[in-house]
């Protein structure tokens, strides 16, 4: 699956996107755990619950299963307009 990062999350991960093994990361909770392990600085932002997730360009708040062909985006609150 493809994970995309935006704004200051992208600055923190230092990459725009990466491909992760969908056999090991089967749902969004598992993805969060993986991300905190790989990028410990994300922990405090997850704790404050300010980060937003989109699966295939749709906002997701609950813990859903994720699959090989999914595109998952992790980003901070928006500031367009």
């Amino acid at each position: 699956m493809k994970i995309k990062y935006f704004a200051w999350i992208r600055e923190l991960t230092k990459i725009e996107e990466e491909n992760l093994d969908s056999n090991k990361i089967k749902n969004l909770e598992k993805l969060k755990t993986f991300l905190i392990t790989k990028y410990p600085d994300l922990q405090k932002h997850f704790d404050k619950e300010i980060l937003r997730f989109a699966v295939n360009q749709v906002y997701i708040v609950e813990n859903i299963d994720i699959y090989k062909n999914d595109e998952i985006a992790v980003f901070p609150p928006v500031s367009g307009g």
Binding site: K4, A7, W8, Q57, E71, V78, S79, G80, G81
Partner: protein, 138 residues
């Protein structure tokens, strides 16, 4: 119509292009957002606007569909820029086209509210000596 682009645009031309397509439009409400030179008493030099383009199109299409049904709009236009924008540059244009004024005012306001809250764009403001990612609060 939705356009997500780096380039500037001409408001009048963009609105006329759509107006020309229909003779039953009696009202157009437009909102234009600009880059300000000051935020929280700090001089802004320029901004950098990032977008998750694929999602932005999807989200804005949804809101246009919703607004069109709710207010029976004839057409809707959203142009949102990204990239490096200077003070006084246009950031966004929302225009709602309808038969009567009340619905076009309401729909334009509704679309902007949604855009500020959910559309995946991020502004980074550059000041004299620092920079900062913004969060929309209203």
């Amino acid at each position: 119509m939705i356009k997500i682009q780096k380039e500037d645009f001409n408001v009048e031309e963009e609105i006329i292009k759509i107006k020309k397509l229909y003779s039953n439009i009696g009202a157009v409400t437009s909102f234009i957002g600009y880059v300000r030179d000051n935020n929280n008493n700090t001089n802004v030099q320029y901004i950098d606007l990032e977008v998750y383009e694929k999602m932005a199109y999807k989200q804005l299409e949804n809101i246009i569909k919703e607004a069109s049904l709710k207010w029976n709009l004839i057409d809707t236009l959203i142009i949102h820029r990204y990239g490096k924008l200077q003070v006084n540059d246009k950031i966004v244009l929302v225009a709602s086209f309808s038969s009567h004024r009340k619905v076009s005012f309401e729909a334009c306001n509704y679309i902007m509210d949604y855009l500020k809250k959910d559309a995946p764009f991020w502004k980074k403001e550059f000041y004299d000596k620092k920079n900062e990612w913004l969060i929309n609060t209203n």
